[in-house]
Symmetry: C2
Subunit: 318 residues, 2 copies
């Protein structure tokens, strides 16, 4: 088994693609002439909002858990997350028939706690600070011997996330540009491995909220810069870039662009209305970047990975 801390390669993505094939959906690629007209380009959407657990995170979690040795697997897996990664780990563990331990802050939305429990995971609550999460996770790992699955700073997770772009370039080989949101960097780095291996001349672009522009600042300074605020509506992108993804992004990614909160909400609603699919705010970031003219795609074919659709329908931002 590949170590989880050495850089993943395209070969790892190919292996991940085989590993997750019995479990993951091959997500559809949709397009819309309405959206094309507004963008002045042909946009193609790889819909991970229709993936299991409603997000691309299932790919990375599933690859990691299915790749564990039998001995490790029997001790279970653990993570701290209140988002899509927690559900991904819980479901993949259930599919492998092993235990999942998820540490969540005690103020996590009930619906998210229930979702994780519904997959059979054991939830341990802690205070809502990073220190409390990490120390509680450590206690769980010490007690159970479970393998910690990081949401993005792990080669197996990155290789798993790269399978979406691999499928995408296979079904749409004439893409000129590939855009993904940039949060922890698992999706962007994994996607860039696939895209540059299959089509070296493709442009790969990471997209961030202006309020969480740590990726852009990190590329500029050459070292990982912290997120300074955590109030962007794109809640999946509030984390800083991980060390492993950052090394890959530095090599492979052509540009990082940022967009305003208003443009994220507007692009999100536009896609809901025009494409009849539910996308979470994070997915709207690359679309907003195109609509705002932050990325020049005029007359080109651009692919966007729609990361997920987990939204609270009871409190929409419009």
């Amino acid at each position: 088994m590949k170590s989880s801390t050495s850089l993943p390669t395209f070969k790892d993505v190919l292996q991940a693609s085989k590993t997750i094939e019995p479990y993951a959906h091959k997500t559809p690629v949709l397009h819309s002439s309405f959206v094309d007209e507004r963008a002045g380009a042909q946009l193609f959407f790889k819909c991970e909002n229709f993936q299991k657990v409603g997000a691309f995170k299932f790919r990375g979690g599933c690859n990691t858990i299915m790749s564990l040795s039998e001995a490790d697997a029997q001790k279970g897996v653990a993570t701290h997350s209140s988002g899509n990664h927690a559900q991904a780990i819980a479901l993949a563990a259930k599919l492998r028939g092993i235990n999942a331990y998820v540490v969540m802050p005690d103020n996590a939305p009930k619906v998210k706690v229930e979702a994780v429990r519904n997959y059979g995971a054991e939830v341990t609550f802690c205070e809502s600070t990073l220190e409390a999460r990490e120390s509680t996770l450590q206690e769980v790992v010490d007690r159970t011997g479970a393998t910690f699955v990081h949401p993005y700073n792990d080669a197996r997770v990155i290789a798993g996330q790269g399978t979406s772009a691999y499928e995408f370039l296979n079904s749409n080989p004439d893409l000129d540009v590939l855009l993904t949101p940039l949060g922890g960097g698992g999706l962007l780095s994994g996607s860039s491995i696939s895209a540059k291996a299959i089509k070296p001349e493709i442009l790969v672009i990471g997209c961030e909220p202006e309020l969480a522009d740590d990726g852009l600042r990190s590329i500029k300074s050459g070292k990982i810069e912290p997120v300074l605020r955590t109030d962007t509506i794109a809640d999946g992108l509030r984390t800083s870039v991980g060390d492993l993804p950052f090394q890959i992004i530095k090599q492979n990614v052509d540009d990082i662009v940022t967009v305003s909160e208003e443009s994220i909400i507007e692009a999100m609603r536009f896609i809901w209305e025009r494409m009849n699919m539910i996308i979470e705010p994070s997915c709207a970031v690359p679309i907003a970047a195109i609509f705002e003219g932050k990325v020049d795609v005029k007359g080109k074919k651009a692919g966007i990975i729609i990361t997920g659709g987990n939204v609270d329908l009871g409190s929409l931002p419009w």
Copy 2:
């Protein structure tokens, strides 16, 4: 050209499938283990909410307009509708490069008027009564010589609507049951033609709101019964069954079931939350029928045609 008033056959559906192929999306089939778990069955969703104009109606409108003789086409097409059919006609006419005339009530939502105009159709307003709609349409037809395209009481439209079930049975040949909503009957009758031709033993079931149960009453009495109320949230199903669809439904359809308003809204939200797609209330009717136990699908494979996703995001029913 097949007359628009004789009964369409499976041959007409096959021809329609070729006719619309260059213009229509081959819509994806999605499924969800969450939904399966609740239903105690395997449910597959043929997603016409991702069709052009966001609804299956594009299939019938496109087939009709592309089938017109050159002489007829040059005079344009006309319809009265404030819903998906109007957009379907407008877009199909634009794609053929001919005029579309749409009669709409003067209280039609502005967004629907704009959508039709954006496709280049000429909108004529009238009072919001059936008489005014019909007389205004007649004036438009007299003035322009345009061909009236009825939303469901037309063999070419029915054949076009049948192409969705045709694709569905091709991609999912092991379906045991096929469910569609029942409004005017174009989709249900067209779907039944395809389904029974490809797989005679499949059950085909029409689903209605209790508040618009004219289809069920018509089957019971043997003649077309009027809709008695127009206040169901499933606004696409407020019309009475058409004469042509009714003849086909009597022959082909195994059962018609009805569901409450509450269960429609609940099923609609469940699909939004669990499958991340936007479905309009009409599409939720067959799903509600399964969740309510009105259709016995336990342990079976059931296919549902998701009819469309045109919903006002500014006023959701929860």
